[in-house]
Amino acid sequence: MEKIIKGKAFVFDANIDTDQIYPGRFLDLTDPEDVAKHAMEGADPNFVRTVKKGDLIVASTNFGCGSSREHAAVTLKAAGIGAILADSFGRIFYRNAINLGIPAIVCPDIRSSVSKGDLLSVNVASGEIINETTGAILKAQPFSPYVMSILDNGGIKSLVKGQLQEQGLK
């Protein structure tokens, strides 16, 4: 995947659960375009109207806690979010985001270092995050080699697809 991701930050506080990221009443929608229309609706009803492709989400601890709904990751991807940076993540959301090829980056104290609208430059490989608005530099936790390989493949589906094809050839 791209080594450097640059984008404008939307900021959220602690314990943003997947019901706020994607309300349960819309779970019967399945096409990503429809799912994108309700991104972050429970936390910020104006989000969908103002988000632009490549924007970033910055959050405090436990972002994506609660339900295992993959819609929460699908909606952010379909809304064009380039990366999610948080002090920590709910574990199922973390897997879902990585599986879809969204860099979910664990960076302790990121929330307190970023304000809404700050321009961030994120080096996915090295974990260096530069807040170009304030000049602050932060260091994210590195991805494990396996997670990095999922992101490099644009998500786990293409990775598994390749493995299944290889097994088919044997």
């Binding site: 314990n15 019901d19 349960g24 019967d28 429970g42 436990n62 993959e70 599986n99 598994v160 299944l164």
Partner: protein, 417 residues
Amino acid sequence: MHAIEKILARAAGMKAVKTGEIINCKVDLAGINDLYLQTIRSFFEMGGNRVSDPGKVIVFLDHYAPASTIAQADNQKQFREFCWDQGIDLLMDIDQGVCHQVLADKGMSYPGEVIVITDSHATTHGAFGAFGTGVGATDLAIILATGQLWFRVPEIIRINLEGGLKKGVYSKDIALHIIGTLGADYGVYRAVEFTGPVLRDLGISERMALCNMTTEMGAKTAYIQPDEITTSFLKNKMKQDYTVFTTDSGYAYFAEHTFDVSNLKPQVAAPHSVDNVADVVKYAGKPINQAFLGTCTGGRTEDLAVAAAILKGKHINPRTRFIIVPASKSVFLEAMNRGYIQALVEAGATFVTPGCAACLGTHQGILAPGETCITSSSRNFPGRMGHGKAEIYVASPAAVAAAALEGKIVDPSDYVK
């Protein structure tokens, strides 16, 4: 090694595993529910053709039971057709109930098993000494295609429960107290094991509630070492043998906490966070519009028994509605045989189809703006059960039933014989 690590090592075909290691495990039972049509889509997007082991896959139509919209009906239709096409015989249709309770009822949750379900509350199966964990649609699709999934071996936290519970205090109160003390993110990426003498007083139903609620502190899985309570529960339900793994003496936990529950009072998680926990009396007198009893957290026969004992021969407050969703068909039938349903309906309760119902705000008891609900389910996130301006208080089944009776939050201890 810890028993959880031994389960994972067995599933990974390894002699030993260590904390932090990424391993690939064979999954003994993979469950999909009707919110996760994306599972089928991801399976085909990955080039899947035939499900690798259809006998290890179970599909639950529980979240939308029965369908309330055309879109829900269409999702369920596609699931049924997928099961028929793929030879998945374990199709639990809309009559069966919530996935976790169905597995318990059918003896499909047992010691040493690796259970992966597209549902965060899969931690519930720790009550049986299984490794249960929740995943999203695409992870489950990988299991459909390969029979396996990768896991990071988690750090393990021991929570030791000492003392004895007072009248009117339940494992739900213990869970809420622990989450309130340690925080909603304390268990993230980690596993939680419960130990201690209190477990001897907790039957399977209460253990399931306890393990279920570890999801609300972020836990990957929960665990209770199987004992005679576990084996006697499974005795008449299971045909096959199972292995009970035990933790090596001297195993070093990531952290250990002891809670003496002897003086614990009924608890409540107030809006809008599961760790915003206090004694229920702090909110006594708060009027409620809806009381909600049920789901995988608090809708078992024992929970309906508590509610029936409080309400038998009485009637709920006229300004309150009391919605009850039995966790499963078996629970519904057993409660019926014991007369709980009769007593509760006469007391003014509204029963809905066994399943998830209003817990996740899709149907069967949605809240209007400005309304207040007390629930025996697990979550009070903003908008969880309907409008974002509704308020949800999470408490024990006894607290829910007592609140339905009075039309306001009360201390349930005064209502339990």
